[in-house]
């Protein structure tokens, strides 16, 4: 009897060992090691490098002076113009993108329209940088098609009226080209997530179309819309190629300043250059925290 028990025990143990692979600390981590090593080298190291250098003076001692030096008129104005452009294009592109996404989801457009517009949005949101700048020069530059068309047909010379492609307005118009398609891609799933049951329940309870929009649909979508706009903000805040090819440094965006600092120490103060870049990350971090909070809210609402 005793013997029997013992042998059964040993067999069960042996079986368990065979069936269940032994998980050691090492074997668990080996699968993700490449990812962490890679990101350590190419994300963490460069970031830590910039941040640590931003807190050092020329002799390598710890200092906060670099950040204090950011508060000069020139540097603040370049942050400010970047923020203004990002804000403007996020709101304008966000609205246009939302309205178009609304049209292809809730609005009654023919079925084919949706996939066509989503494809074009994919193209346009990826079509940024050098060629986009060229395209807008050909469109709204001094001899651009729209400029000439307005002058010849409608006798409106926009350049005499103070328009300039290399200005705040010009750059905003150019950025919007990739902003609104991105908004379409970001917001369409949220619009798809609106249940028809909500509309019918509202109607059933006596709500008009307007009441439904105001009290149900827009409040539900607001976190997603704001979240989308924050993504657009970041998208334009970090844009360098488009701005550089379009203005060649004419407009003092923060990305252009950082770019110049990489090429050569134009600020005559390496530490200040690093602080400049770290400042951009701080702005982005603040934005991403908002984004995260908004996303949490909308996901919580829409959870089943």
């Amino acid at each position: 009897m005793l013997n029997n028990d013992k042998s059964t025990n040993t067999t069960t143990n042996g079986d368990a060992r065979n069936v269940r692979p032994h998980h050691s600390f090492f074997s668990d981590w080996i699968g993700v090691a490449p990812f962490f090593i890679f990101t350590l080298f190419f994300i963490v190291l460069p970031s830590v490098g910039l941040v640590s250098r931003a807190f050092q003076d020329n002799a390598g001692n710890f200092t906060l002076q670099n950040f204090a030096n950011l508060f000069t008129r020139e540097i603040l104005s370049s942050y400010w113009i970047s923020i203004r452009i990002s804000f403007t294009t996020a709101v304008a592109g966000g609205l246009l993108g939302f309205l178009m996404a609304y049209a292809i989801t809730v609005g009654k457009l023919p079925a084919g329209g949706r996939s066509v517009i989503l494809t074009f949005s994919g193209v346009a949101s990826n079509f940024a940088g050098v060629p986009l700048a060229f395209a807008f020069v050909a469109t709204m530059g001094r001899t651009g098609m729209i400029t000439v068309l307005l002058k010849n047909v409608f006798h409106i010379n926009i350049y005499n009226m103070g328009f300039n492609l290399y200005s705040f307005l010009g750059l905003s118009l150019t950025y919007t080209f990739f902003q609104f398609p991105l908004m379409i891609l970001v917001i369409t799933p949220a619009l798809d997530g609106l249940k028809t049951d909500w509309r019918e329940a509202a109607e059933n309870l006596g709500a008009s179309q307007g009441t439904y929009l105001r009290k149900v649909m827009l409040p539900i979508l607001t976190p997603s819309i704001l979240g989308g706009m924050i993504l657009l903000f970041g998208n334009s805040f970090g844009a360098y190629a488009t701005a550089y090819s379009l203005t060649g440094g004419f407009l003092n965006l923060i990305t252009i300043m950082v770019g110049a600092q990489i090429k050569g120490d134009v600020l005559y103060n390496p530490g200040l250059g690093y602080a400049l870049a770290v400042g951009m990350v701080i702005v982005m971090l603040i934005m991403m925290i908002f984004y995260y909070l908004l996303r949490q809210r909308s996901e919580r609402w829409l959870r089943k």
Partner: protein, 265 residues
């Protein structure tokens, strides 16, 4: 109903104009290289330029390496955190999304400063700069390759697939390459083509790390020196982006049609 439809059409029309007018203007401009007549000479000039072909070949090779390494990096990682280390999920997702937070210009700044000296000197050799550029692009495309693969893997039950394969005697290599990868085909391919579309004409990182060898900086050079060719190369670049996006669309459609029997071959 009628009113809703009118507004829908209006917004779509505005968006459509915003999208097509610049392209139309650029195309129109690209045909005016000779006074008075429409000509494709600006395109011929681009296609005759050996630098066009060498830069595009270079960027394509870099893009292919980027694709290769990002898949090799992301698929096993996502697989592993789904299978063994779900507690790391938040951390890996956070790291993957970091390149949204760190703008490309800032990242390239950091990369150049870190890798222009010991102990990790990369910018002193051609090979080193290629490695640096590919790594930079892997980071740049990490947010959406992570998303795509993660979504793809949530659609298949990796744990059961793995356990089923294990119970049939498969080793890790077989599991990964004959079970997991084939079932992720669509997710991987969409991320591949999105990566290609992002990387091939990329300017910011390429211009600082590699310069004129790659296609983005080459386009910029064309724009500085040649008036009409800047338009023709814009159209060419647009068509490339468009073609890559169409391919993605195609994959997604095939997936929708026979989503029930994925894998196979």
């Amino acid at each position: 109903m009628k009113r809703g439809s009118f507004w829908s059409w209006l917004w779509v029309a505005i968006g459509g104009l915003y999208f097509f007018l610049p392209l139309l203007s650029t195309f129109d401009f690209s045909l005016r290289a000779k006074k008075g007549i429409l000509t494709f000479v600006a395109y011929e000039n681009i296609f005759k330029d050996p630098q066009f072909w060498s830069t595009i070949r270079f960027s394509l090779v870099i893009a292919l390496f980027t694709v290769f390494f990002s898949i090799l990096l992301v698929v096993p990682t996502v697989y592993w955190i789904r299978l063994r280390l779900p507690q790391l999920r938040m951390l890996v997702e956070f790291i993957s999304m970091l390149s949204y937070v760190i703008p490309a210009i800032v990242l390239v700044f950091g990369l150049i400063r870190v890798f222009s000296g010991s102990p990790f000197y990369l910018t002193n050799s051609y090979f080193g700069t290629y490695v640096l550029l590919v790594a930079a692009y892997v980071v740049l495309t990490l947010p959406f390759s992570f998303r795509a693969i993660d979504t793809g893997m949530s659609a298949i039950d990796v744990r059961s697939l793995t356990e089923a394969a294990q119970s049939l005697g498969a080793g890790w290599g077989t599991i990964l390459f004959r079970v997991i990868f084939p079932n992720l085909k669509v997710a991987i391919l969409s991320s591949v083509f999105l990566t290609l579309a992002t990387v091939i004409g990329e300017y910011t990182m390429a211009s600082f790390i590699i310069g004129l060898k790659s296609f983005g900086p080459y386009m910029s050079l064309v724009g500085q020196n040649k008036t009409y060719e800047s338009s023709s190369i814009t159209i060419i670049s647009f068509l490339m982006t468009w073609a890559l996006m169409m391919v993605i669309q195609l994959f997604n459609r095939t997936k929708a049609n026979n989503g029930t029997h994925s894998g196979g071959r």
